[in-house]
């Protein structure tokens, strides 16, 4: 069980610049292709059972003709003090001490969905079915990422497989990880450069610098979840 304490270590972090974000959803698709997130079909999406590890909250602001959408890409905030963790009876929702992120152990998960109920960000996605990916479509599935079965909870992992690969490459070359060396799929795709990922424990990293921006805020920070994702407010009339 995660302890609520003051001195929680910081490690990987993400900054979402809402002034750059256009709401294009390329990140949604990039995440799904990287992480073997199954498409579920029209009926499931209609039932609210579509699986999106990252989704764009589109909120209409104002009334016609001064109406505009505000986009807010939301993924697991990798809470430093995660409400999803203590409620899991099987310890499937666990905290990685090394990476300081929240992970889901799929083969421990028995599908109580307590964690999803307790996550204030709707970050958790439940597999209501087995993935239906007919051959040879399954050929593109990423061998670095487990394929989840029906009855299992899943969510954004900050592309932990890329973090691990980056760390291994660096250690094989006997050097520290470079800033920007690890890029999650959404960050790599984002056409407008709205997403920045990196090591928050290094004050000189780009992500640490950007997280200091005067436009910064955290999503539902008042709940004490200590999110690792920092949002930068949109700058315009319509900005986030």
């Amino acid at each position: 069980m995660a302890e609520v304490s003051k001195g929680i270590a910081e490690k990987w972090g993400l900054v979402v610049d809402q002034d750059r974000c256009t709401g294009c959803n390329a990140c949604v698709v990039a995440c799904s292709m990287e992480n073997n997130v199954p498409f579920t079909g029209e009926d499931n999406v209609a039932f609210g059972r579509g699986t999106y590890w990252i989704y764009n909250k589109r909120m209409w602001e104002g009334a016609y003709p001064e109406v505009a959408p505000a986009f807010q890409p939301v993924m697991c905030q990798q809470c430093g003090s995660a409400p999803c963790e203590p409620v899991c009876p099987t310890f499937a929702a666990v905290h990685s001490e090394e990476e300081q992120i929240n992970l889901q152990i799929y083969n421990r998960c028995i599908g109580t969905r307590y964690c999803a109920n307790n996550c204030p960000y709707h970050a958790r996605q439940f597999n209501f079915q087995d993935p239906d990916i007919p051959e040879p479509m399954n050929s593109y599935l990423n061998p670095d990422v487990t394929i989840r079965r029906r009855g299992v909870m899943e969510k954004c992992t900050f592309c932990v497989q890329r973090i691990v690969a980056g760390r291994q490459t660096a250690s094989a070359e006997d050097r520290p990880l470079r800033d920007g060396e690890v890029t999650p799929a959404c960050v790599a795709a984002c056409p407008s450069g709205a997403l920045v990922f990196g090591d928050l424990s290094d004050p000189s990293s780009r992500v640490s610098q950007m997280a200091q921006n005067e436009r910064q805020y955290k999503l539902m920070d008042e709940l004490g979840t200590r999110p690792k994702v920092t949002y930068l407010k949109g700058g315009g009339r319509n900005g986030g």
Binding site: D17, D19, R20, T22, G23, C24, N25, A26, V28, V29, A30, S32, M33, E34, F39, T40, G41, E42, D43, V45, A46, G48, G50, Y52, Y55, N56, R58, W60, A63, Y64, P65, V67, A68, P69, F71, N117, H122, P134, E135, P136, M137, N138, S139, Y140, L141, N142, P143, A185, A188, A189, C190, P191, S192, G193, A194, G235, G236, R237, N238
Partner: protein
């Protein structure tokens, strides 16, 4: 088949390039040179458990973004942008990211088929040994009776076919894509020609602009080169420490681009030209300059009223535009794809002339790129020729005219009058189904080639295409089929195969001052594949653009409507592009950014109008225009004029595989065949009516997921 270069030799040659970078491989599963073997005999360039990366070019639209494909054990796993590529600099859009879902799609055409125009009784698999003589016979037809209809990508096939048709005196190949219609490409190019004296696509330096006026340009979605324009948009917002760019969008239906604008000005469709002229007059006043000739008879207050906006707003915006040192006006598809579109495009381009931003940072440049389409006028005359039985054989590649063209154009009926239709489609799309033969090309990720017309590149760029996996099925490169058939028909071209053709085409680049060179073509070729193309290091576009004088124009303005009975119709493209994306399940499941809708077609109606007409969310309505009708569910869309309705393009397939078929409706049924002066489809000023059908069909939306565990 070339036996000149054996596989081992080839790898040796290519190995010369491999020294340059440990990451990207210049060699690859080059279909022709490498035999497929079981993975127990692993090829040298592959190691179990290790990734192999290939640089290539996205072919999901005509933009030509550079991609890096990560492969493992011969399978294409993930696609990301090529960080070195000057167009997209490592970024990519949803369509490029899901290209594997085309490669590994279970509904592809597996090999050459005698398709018998859908007559299932006569359909049969055929072989390439039979297909080549057949194509060869067809190429022997009288030159004037051969027609090629190609897609907007890839460019190398277009170049090859152009060379062949020229050599025998046949009509030049046509290129068409519905996307090009929605972009108004021909109009944009012709407007640039008339305004700047050169028929090239203009490049808008969004990243360095401060005040940007977009007239229906959906550059964050599909317009010209969405990835590079999205990157520029991000920089326009946040890359300068002191100045945040300001975007104003003039359009009747709020697109994603307009949704991101600082101000959305919902003007009536058809009033864009008038608004541009009124702005020209007000901008001149604000700058203390003489009113441009074209705008002298314009009264801004009247224009504002006609366009349906506040006169004070227009003045305020004109002052903003006039005051900034880096103002930019962009003419987009829905504004210029209208009857008077060419004059509208010129009027908008003239705003740039007025603020002297030509060839300056934040202004307008001219690219080296022609637009990669022929105009709809030429497609129409092809249809006429087909109807007059003047076309004996029609070849179709990477285009789906039966689906994409307005139904009233009668392409399908004309197709029935062509004695021999040969499709090179990789998917059984609507047009391929009505062909005599489908001789499938490799899928883009299994192909060679290049894209050279990069509409938003800020420098000369050739982007290379190479196979990242060995072909999965009994498909064959269309260029190879045509080369072999042309040789057999007695009108050979001097190339042994597709690779030879591409190599000969890029020979001039060796000494053209790019960021690498090589003593001979084979070494150059391996670098060309390794880097994903060729370009020059320095950014550089034609800054010497001269402005012509502004031509007096008169605009008839928006059509009058019968209130609550008639509506302006906006048909807009989405992530499904020209419709070919509809068989990628993740593009279907990806929520439409503005509505969060998935997997279907919807009709956007302003809630105020919907209330008046008693229309609820998910009610099925029948939309009728003078050209046809369709039925789809309503989405009450708050960001659209009350006198306008909108429908997304791309669904409504009757073929194209399990994920595309029988889903939604195709708005091509609602569009006219009319063109503007530049030959682009006049789709932007169509008038429609809607009627309730009494049916209800819920749309699959993502936006209510917050209510899933509680109230809906």
């Amino acid at each position: 088949m070339s036996d000149k270069i054996t596989r081992r030799n080839f790898l040796k040659i290519a190995g010369a390039g491999a020294a340059i970078s440990a990451v990207l491989t210049g060699c690859g599963p080059m279909s022709r040179y490498i035999v497929r073997r079981p993975y127990t005999e692993m090829p040298e360039y592959n190691q179990t458990g290790l990734n192999t990366y290939y640089a290539s070019t996205c072919r999901e639209c005509a933009a030509g973004c550079g991609i890096i494909v990560r492969t493992k054990e011969g399978r294409a796993i993930t696609i990301e942008g090529n960080p070195q590529h000057p167009l997209n600099r490592g970024r990519l859009c949803a369509r490029g990211i899901t290209a594997q879902q085309g490669l590994y799609n279970p509904d592809r055409v597996f090999g050459p088929i005698f398709q018998a125009r859908g007559d299932t009784g006569r359909q049969a698999r055929t072989s390439w040994d039979e297909a080549i003589p057949l194509v060869s016979e067809a190429l022997k037809s009288p030159a004037g009776q051969i027609a090629f209809l190609l897609g907007t990508a890839p460019d190398h096939l277009y170049d090859l076919v152009t060379e062949w048709t020229r050599s025998i005196g046949a009509p030049a190949p046509l290129r068409y894509s519905a996307l090009a219609s929605f972009e108004g490409r021909s109009t944009l190019q012709e407007a640039a020609n008339r305004t700047f004296g050169k028929p090239a696509l203009p490049y808008f330096d969004l990243a360095n602009a401060e005040v940007v006026f977009s007239f229906g340009a959906n550059f964050l979605e599909t317009w010209l080169s969405p990835v590079s324009y999205s990157a520029a948009y991000g920089d326009m917002r946040q890359a300068r420490p002191t100045r945040r760019g300001y975007l104003v969008a003039f359009e009747a239906r709020q697109s994603l681009t307009a949704g991101n604008a600082d101000e959305w000005i919902p003007i009536k469709p058809g009033s864009e030209g008038l608004v541009a002229l009124a702005l020209a007059r007000l901008v001149a006043e604000a700058r203390g300059e003489a009113t441009p000739a074209a705008a002298r008879s314009i009264d801004p207050a009247t224009v504002a009223e006609t366009a349906g906006i506040e006169p004070a707003k227009l003045t305020e915006l004109a002052r903003l535009f006039a005051a900034s040192e880096h103002s930019l006006a962009i003419p987009g598809g829905s504004a210029i794809g209208q009857h008077e579109g060419l004059a509208i495009a010129q009027a908008i381009l003239q705003l740039n002339v007025q603020v002297n931003n030509l060839g300056l940072p934040g202004g307008v440049f001219l690219t080296n790129s022609e637009q990669p389409t022929t105009s709809l006028t030429e497609v129409k005359s092809l249809v006429q020729k087909m109807n007059d039985s003047q076309v004996k054989v029609l070849f179709i590649h990477a285009a789906n005219p039966v689906f994409e063209l307005p139904k009233v154009l009668g392409f399908e009926e004309a197709l029935a009058k062509v004695p021999l239709v040969i499709s090179f489609a990789t998917f059984p799309d609507e047009t391929a189904m009505l062909s005599d033969y489908i001789l499938p090309d490799h899928s883009p990720l299994e192909s060679f080639g290049y894209q050279r017309m990069l509409a938003a590149a800020d420098r000369p760029v050739y982007s290379s295409i190479q196979p990242v996996v060995a072909p999965l099925y009994d498909t064959r490169a269309t260029a190879d089929v045509l080369l072999a058939a042309a040789a057999a028909a007695g009108s050979p071209l001097p190339y042994t195969d597709e690779v030879d053709f591409v190599q000969q085409m890029i020979v001039p680049l060796i000494s053209a001052g790019g960021f690498y060179t090589a003593p001979e073509i084979q070494t150059f070729w391996s670098r060309w594949l390794q880097y994903g193309g060729w370009w020059v290091t320095e950014q550089g576009l034609d800054a010497e653009i001269a402005a012509g004088s502004s031509r007096p124009a008169t605009f008839s303005g928006p059509a009058a409507l019968e209130e609550d009975k008639q509506f302006y119709l906006v048909v807009f493209p989405t992530q499904l592009g020209d419709g070919a994306g509809a068989n990628r399940p993740w593009l279907q499941e990806m929520p439409d950014p503005m509505t969060t809708l998935t997997w279907n077609t919807w009709v956007e109606v302003n809630p105020e109008t919907a209330d008046k007409l008693g229309i609820h969310d998910d009610d099925v309505v029948r939309v009728t225009t003078p050209y046809g009708a369709l039925e789809a569910s309503v989405y009450r869309y708050p960001a659209i004029r009350p006198d306008t309705i909108a429908i997304p393009f791309g669904q409504g397939h009757t073929a194209l595989g399990r994920w595309a078929e029988g889903r939604g409706a195709n708005p091509a049924a609602l569009l006219p065949a009319a063109v503007n002066e530049a030959g682009d489809l006049a789709f932007g000023d169509v008038i429609a009516s809607i009627a309730l059908t009494g049916k209800r069909r819920p749309l699959a939306r993502v936006e209510n997921r917050e209510g899933v565990y509680g109230e809906h």
